[in-house]
């Protein structure tokens, strides 16, 4: 299954929120939607879910316009919230029923997910009695219980402790393996980097960068080496100004051209006791800051 957003435009009043936004997400892969606050992520997600229509542009599933009565969408909004004063089982089955399940199937699915997330003991408690992290796990059930084809997770990891984050990662990986389209929106780049095969960076309503993660990374000039060694000082003095020390103690060597990679690597391993030497690939964080940050400065002007 392929989900496409084609040339989406959207304005609220005078303010243009999305300009010519096109994305493509495939089943069995996770897609990362990145952008600074107010870049248009939530608006894109809402258009994708049909909460409101785009001014122009199309949302397609396998090339045909999306039919919301056939395609199930699970959504974990960034602004979390359910009914604080209601019994957890009641409200979870309510949301599953709203998505078209019958009562019996809804209860069964909710019970399965409560079990899967280790929340069965809270089944008949009121939501407000739970801790924030546990409330978030309950909210996650609303996004998963109706077995949707598309799962949209907006900042799913915020507020989770490492154990719960691990649990969520397993669940998400499982859903990806089952062929679902998983759409991530997050500021926590390490998670995006871990999951997402494709990313899009939105900047002020425009797609600043879109594509497969490893292609994006490989497209950066491969003219820097990262070196870890006990003899860092010796290397530093040998390479002079082309070598700098990074914050985490590794060395960064700037090559004259990418072709120098092999000879320099050989020289390093032969001359010094080197623990690690590799071509520098920018982290998603670096890419994000570059693409989302530049325009941010423009915006501030």
């Amino acid at each position: 299954m392929v989900l496409e957003l084609l040339n989406i435009e959207k304005s609220f009043g005078e303010k243009k929120v999305l300009t010519d936004v096109s994305l493509k997400a495939e089943g069995g892969k996770a897609f990362g939607l990145l952008g600074r606050n107010g870049a248009g992520k939530t608006t894109s997600i809402r258009i994708l879910m049909g909460v409101f229509p785009a001014d122009s542009g199309r949302v397609l599933i396998d090339g045909a316009p999306i039919d919301y009565s056939k395609i199930g969408i699970g959504y974990l909004p960034e602004e979390r919230g359910l009914y604080p004063k209601k019994i957890i089982l009641d409200q979870l089955t309510y949301f599953a029923e709203l998505k078209g399940m019958n009562r019996k199937a809804a209860v069964k699915a909710v019970d399965y997910w409560l079990e899967r997330l280790g929340m069965t003991e809270y089944r008949n408690k009121k939501l407000e009695t739970l801790s924030k992290g546990n409330q978030q796990k309950i909210q996650l059930v609303t996004a998963l219980s109706h077995d949707p084809d598309i799962i949209i997770l907006d900042e799913p990891f915020s507020g989770l402790d490492p154990v719960n984050a691990m649990l969520l990662k397993d669940v998400v990986k499982e859903e990806i393996r089952r062929g679902k389209i998983v759409l991530f929106s997050s500021h926590q780049m390490n998670y995006i980097e871990e999951f997402c095969d494709c990313i899009a960076i939105l900047n002020q309503g425009k797609v600043a960068l879109c594509g497969e993660m490893h292609t994006i990374k490989r497209n950066y000039p491969r003219d820097r080496l990262v070196v870890r060694s006990e003899k860092a000082d010796a290397i530093l003095s040998d390479f002079g100004s082309s070598c700098t020390k990074t914050e985490d103690g590794a060395l960064m060597i700037q090559l004259a051209s990418p072709a120098d990679k092999k000879p320099v690597m050989i020289r390093l391993t032969e001359q010094y006791d080197v623990d690690e030497v590799k071509v520098f690939e920018p982290s998603l964080n670096d890419i994000f800051v570059q693409y989302a940050g530049d325009a941010a400065k423009e915006g501030e002007q």
Binding site: G13, M49, V51, P53, P77, G81, L82, Y83, L98
Partner: protein, 414 residues
């Protein structure tokens, strides 16, 4: 449709689980029961009272008449006319009579200054004190009797002339305002209570979902039209259940205690509402309720904070109060067909009250009724759809309450 059913069921369950809602319903049913059992309870106490000292428990009325001949006649007639009082003659001075009244030993006193004049003394003059009027009438009759006897008529003939009864019958070809007044009043008042109460409940329910951010998930899970109609119809059903409980128990307990109520015209007229009027009552009640509930729901969806609801819904409340006032004043004025009422009986926000009042208390041609109901149904549906649109636009607007112009623009585009 299935989704609508799910929402309706969920919202109805909320009312059933709402302690305030259940509490108020039970309280009102108990209150009605107590009210309906009241005559029976009073009768119970009255029976225990030995009738001997009934005379002592009556309050004392003093009569002072200087003319002995008048005093003799007055004592009997006053005692007969003021059955609620222990009527006693007195020769005391006026100031001592006054003292007795202010001290509370004596309830009131008549001092007769001659055959055609008296002074009435009472401590606190009640608004409904009819004693001077009765005394005037009694004295007038005595004077007339005396005059006739003085003119040569026998006492029996004179009494016959005085007690002559005129038979008269009234046949109303249209409506009897007096008879219909009470259930019209009750219907208008019930509508008033229910709209304000349930309108607020719908508003609260929408605003709570918005402020708890459950809305984020709801708008992506359910169609706004289903959401709005589900919520409003659930409130409507809950309101009807409550009313049926209250009026049903009233009817039940009234019938249980019917013999104790005697011939109470007011209560009889309430329970003997003509069937076609009852149908009109239901139609106008439902439509009136729905149109206001939709408005309350739509407006509260534009509010971000719970505490802003009251200010936001004020215009709707005033609109409703305007209709309520017009109808109430027209009803007590006895004229329900003046121009303002005619206009109000077609405007969708006032017609549920105005048109029903006119049907109940006056004669309205069928096509006027049909037109009014037609306008009301169309606008209720229109407002329902519009409120669903406002809801969809409104619920995702956070922060300060948006201006009406912005909402209209956004709804137009949506």
């Amino acid at each position: 449709m299935k989704q609508f059913g799910t929402i309706l069921k969920f919202e109805l369950k909320n009312y059933a689980k709402n302690k305030a809602f259940v509490g108020i319903t039970i309280f009102l049913v108990v209150l009605i029961a107590a009210l309906m059992f009241l005559p029976r309870i009073i009768a119970l106490f009255e029976n225990e009272d030995p009738s001997d000292d009934a005379n002592e428990s009556l309050s004392v009325m003093l009569i002072k008449a200087d003319d002995p001949a008048q005093a003799e006649m007055v004592k009997e007639t006053f005692a007969a006319s003021f059955g609620d009082y222990n009527v006693q003659m007195t020769d005391e001075e006026i100031h001592s009579i006054k003292d007795k009244i202010t001290s509370g030993d004596v309830e009131c006193a008549f001092v007769l200054n001659g055959p055609t004049s008296f002074t009435y003394y009472v401590n606190n003059l009640s608004m409904y004190d009819m004693n001077p009027d009765i005394a005037s009438e009694v004295l007038q009759q005595i004077y007339q009797m005396n005059a006739m006897i003085g003119g040569g008529m026998s006492a029996e003939d004179a009494a016959g002339v005085m007690s002559i009864r005129i038979d008269g019958e009234v046949e109303s070809l249209g409506k009897d305002q007096m008879q219909n007044f009470f259930y019209t009043y009750i219907m208008i008042f019930a509508l008033y209570m229910v709209i304000l109460l349930y309108g607020q409940m719908v508003a609260m329910s929408v605003a709570t979902e918005k402020s708890s951010r459950a809305m984020e998930l709801l708008v992506t899970s359910a169609k706004p039209l289903n959401m709005m109609f589900g919520k409003v119809l659930a409130a409507c059903a809950a309101g009807l259940i409550q009313l049926v409980a209250i009026f049903g128990s009233a009817l039940l307990f009234y019938n249980v205690n019917k013999s104790y109520w005697g011939d109470n015209g007011i209560i009889d007229s309430i329970f003997n509402i003509p069937p076609e009027l009852f149908v009109y009552m239901l139609v106008f009640f439902l439509l009136g309720f729905l149109i206001y509930a939709f408005l309350y729901g739509a407006i509260s969806s534009t509010v971000s904070k719970l505490e802003d609801i009251n200010t936001a819904v004020q215009p709707v409340t005033y609109l409703f109060l305007f209709g309520f006032m017009v109808v109430m004043f027209s009803m007590s004025g006895g004229n329900v067909d003046h121009l303002l009422m005619r206009i109000c009986s077609y405007l969708p926000f006032t017609s549920p009250m105005a048109m029903f009042t006119r049907i109940a208390m006056s004669t309205v041609p069928w096509y006027e009724i049909a037109l009014s109901i037609g306008i009301l149904i169309a606008s209720t549906f229109g407002i329902g759809v519009l409120s669903a649109k406002i809801y969809r636009v409104g619920v995702l607007m956070y922060g300060t309450s948006p201006k009406i112009g912005n909402i209209i623009k956004a709804v137009w585009k949506a």
